[in-house]
Symmetry: C2
Subunit: 519 residues, 2 copies
């Protein structure tokens, strides 16, 4: 079986079911399959060949679904472009990945058109959802002229399927290579672990489908369930869509959850169709989670994954989200769950040995969903995959039953006076404070201790707290050396395009002019 077999299966088993919705557009299984295969055939008809890289720059829509799977079905390699990137960054990716064709939403023409002449390898440009400029192909015209038959390109497990550029905290972004097998395993993993998708289900995709949200598309389509694509995150639109489309499952990142919980609109909509709320992408404070379970019920599933090892590597299942107040259940609420059917997760020390339960080390994983490597970067590949395990650079530990506890990013660890401090532990305590809406903790330079702990917080509307109150609150819940020594108050914390709080943007100004970010 390969990805294309599942596009065939969707059309075969659900020809007349409505399976894909974006705004006023609604498509049946047969229509989705036909549009995908038409695009595959059209791209091959342009002369693109198996293994050629094709960049896609779109905001969330049904076009994203068509483009992703048309490329996979034709053996072409998807290079998703980040809509927040600047022209210079786009150009770097087009050149680095040696992209031969671009599929671009009309809203991005302004940024892409000027750089296309510089990207010498790009021989085809397709404009989606708007009038195609001179020299560009129009998407709908292109697919209307192509056949609906299944493309006959051979697809092998080890064929390259996508190159996804990491946001790159240091240096140039790296291209993460995933195989056809990796893409397929993500489908299986989604079908197998934590979700029991039926044809009567529907999923609303809120985050960019180039990221974790995208993993839910094909598993739902192939079951004849409905995939509702939202153009972005807007609390009211999310709540309205859940009510109108009787959505059974959504995937959120913690900051979205915080905003939904804080919204006065939450009571105005019928959200009873929801059977699963999947969350992930960054740690969530137990306090927020408890409030969420109180409102939505026992329907939460947490996923853990990374660009280099697609979601999910581990899951904290509904059965693990127990609010009985026992020490064990409270502790597990702060874990990222256990390895899934298709993954092996272990904790490793710097010498490459597995460490016993309870001991902190680097989280390492093995899975078909682990990347093949970094594009044209054998050194970084060898480093990340040394010993046959993907080294995640996430620090954590495991309990006796395999529950994994994320401690922090290896690079975010604060070393103060010789003690290791993990920011997340301090942030969890900050979120317990009734006035705190968002919190981030990081190390800043300190003459005496090397580094000292700094907190940045935003407060809930109408709530107040002083720096001293916040520090005192931490002091009562943490060892003294872990408490923040100063607090910055911000209207909101900086976030990446997936909605994660970016500590680095807060931290960097304090380290400007220093050679290393650890003092």
């Amino acid at each position: 079986m390969n990805i294309r077999d599942y596009v065939v299966k969707m059309g075969h088993l659900h020809p007349d079911r409505e399976v894909l919705v974006f705004q006023e557009h609604r498509f049946t299984g047969r229509q989705v399959r036909d549009r995908i295969f038409r695009l595959s055939n059209a791209l091959l008809g342009l002369g693109l060949e198996k293994g050629d890289r094709v960049a896609v720059l779109l905001t969330n829509s049904h076009y994203s679904v068509e483009c992703f799977y048309a490329l996979a079905c034709a053996g072409l390699v998807l290079v998703p472009m980040n809509s927040r990137n600047a022209a210079r960054e786009h150009l770097y990716m087009l050149e680095n990945a040696e992209v031969r064709a671009v599929l671009v939403g009309q809203e991005f023409l302004g940024v892409i058109q000027p750089i296309l002449s510089e990207a010498s390898g790009v021989s085809h440009a397709v404009c989606i959802n708007g009038p195609a400029p001179q020299g560009w192909l129009d998407y709908e015209t292109l697919i209307a002229g192509a056949g609906v038959e299944e493309p006959q390109i051979e697809l092998l497990d080890e064929d390259l399927s996508s190159i996804r550029y990491t946001s790159g905290t240091t240096g140039r972004p790296k291209g993460v290579m995933h195989s056809q097998r990796g893409a397929l395993t993500t489908v299986y993993s989604t079908l197998m672990d934590g979700l029991d998708i039926k044809s009567t289900d529907s999923v609303a995709l809120i985050g960019p489908v180039t990221h974790a949200s995208g993993s839910y598309i094909l598993p739902h389509l192939v079951r004849g369930a409905k995939v509702v694509i939202l153009p972005g995150f807007d609390v009211t639109n999310v709540l309205r869509t859940v009510e109108q489309e009787r959505v059974t499952m959504i995937h959120l990142i913690p900051t979205m959850l915080v905003m939904i919980l804080a919204s006065p609109e939450i009571d105005r909509y019928d959200l009873s169709s929801l059977k699963t709320i999947r969350y992930g992408a960054s740690p969530i404070s137990p306090d927020v989670l408890k409030r969420a379970i109180g409102i939505f019920g026992d329907i939460f599933v947490q996923g853990y994954g990374l660009t280099e090892a697609s979601m999910p590597m581990s899951l904290l299942l509904k059965d693990d989200h127990i609010l009985d107040g026992s020490e064990k259940s409270i502790r597990r609420l702060s874990s990222i769950g256990r390895e899934v059917t298709f993954s092996k997760v272990r904790i490793m020390d710097d010498e490459g040995n597995f460490v016993p339960p309870g001991q902190i080390g680097e989280i390492v994983v093995q899975s078909s969903q682990v990347m093949q490597g970094y594009w044209k970067n054998p050194e970084a590949t060898a480093e990340a995959l040394r010993g046959g395990w993907l080294h995640t650079r996430d620090m954590g530990f495991m309990d006796e039953e395999g529950y994994i506890y994320l401690v922090d990013r290896k690079e975010d660890m604060i070393i103060s006076g010789g003690f290791n401090i993990y920011p997340k532990e301090v942030e969890d305590v900050l979120y317990m404070h009734p006035a705190v809406l968002e919190a981030a903790v990081f190390g800043i330079p300190d003459e005496k201790w090397g580094e000292t702990v700094k907190a940045a917080v935003s407060l809930k509307t109408g709530q107040k707290a002083t720096e001293q109150e916040i520090i005192e609150h931490c002091k009562t819940h943490l060892a003294g050396y872990k408490k923040p020594t100063s607090v910055d108050f911000l209207d909101q914390l900086p976030k990446g395009h997936t909605g994660k709080i970016v500590r680095r943007e807060l931290k960097d100004p304090y380290w400007r002019g220093k050679e290393r970010k650890i003092n």
Copy 2:
């Protein structure tokens, strides 16, 4: 991932959960893993090498689980022996498969000991659950002397994992070869389709675990659910076990279901823990199914598979078992459902073309669960797998949404006066008669028509019906040429060791002395 990874995972995630039960024996995940690995290591320690065939002859017990997975983990090839076979048949398999070791339950020593000297390739014999005779090894002594570490034999997807001998309706039994990948895909398929196994679940295995029932073992173990092995089918014991072990899932074959439904004991036990009743292995009449749904509720899932393509190739899910009386729902109750995530199922004519919906042809399948071929029988392999599709010799058709309707075995089709008659259609009508408990239909020689339709039935206790009444009943529900022209009344119909009714045993006496079984 391979089968051994899942044995590791069971021990890693569920070390202290009770996951395996047979009579008074109860084992945790760690204990099961350790016993499996000890046996793997012990067998390798005897000098057996990857790819060597090992025959296992046991009645259902926890030993079956240990033997099956110990062989898979060591890269050894399982040859399950059929407990109903005679010594001569056992000897044929030992020689044909070139078996190097046998693992035998003490109850079978009487049949195996005398033939071992003739099976020249067998160099090791292990006696399970009883005193080992001279020259035999004792199972518990053997494993007690071996280590618990994970065996370090490399396992590849295409490695041979088992040879299962078909009952062989004509000629010598054929050895069906399945790969490690096939065994693994069966696990995934069970986890992915129609069951959503949680650690709080438990499955009671009633049929021989060498057959379809065995496919449920590892999926439940790896989820930390409880596998309860029953020594055989006994209505009272099944009902009692469901109540005592709070069983959530059982797998039945239709004749078992008929017997359970007919039992006065059904009301005496608390069966409310059951969430799924899986059935399969032979067609079931819509009438029996309707009665069953009336009693147990909407918890039925039907699976279709065969020795050459492991269960399930298709599933009729709970959502498909709708009793609203509509034409569509009644029709679907008689289907074998739709292809599963890991399979492609199509209908093919004798020229190798796919036929349109509604048209009868041979059911063909593609899947990782399809056999690698027949052992040392390239001709039969080429014939069965021609064109890259397994030809099941089951005749059927498909509707517009991919629901598959089994018509009959290719060889069981009756040709009477030039008309094709499929026995199952007639049997379904016989089961609608209130006095009929079991029914089988087959063709017998007829001077005028070539063949004519014969029915064999057994009646429910206390019920009566004459031959003429039965024939009249069929006449009102079937075209005239399909009705039986005569009826045999039997106390019970002959069944194979899986409990299926064996039409052949009824049919053969009528054809003795004829060269072909189709006149």
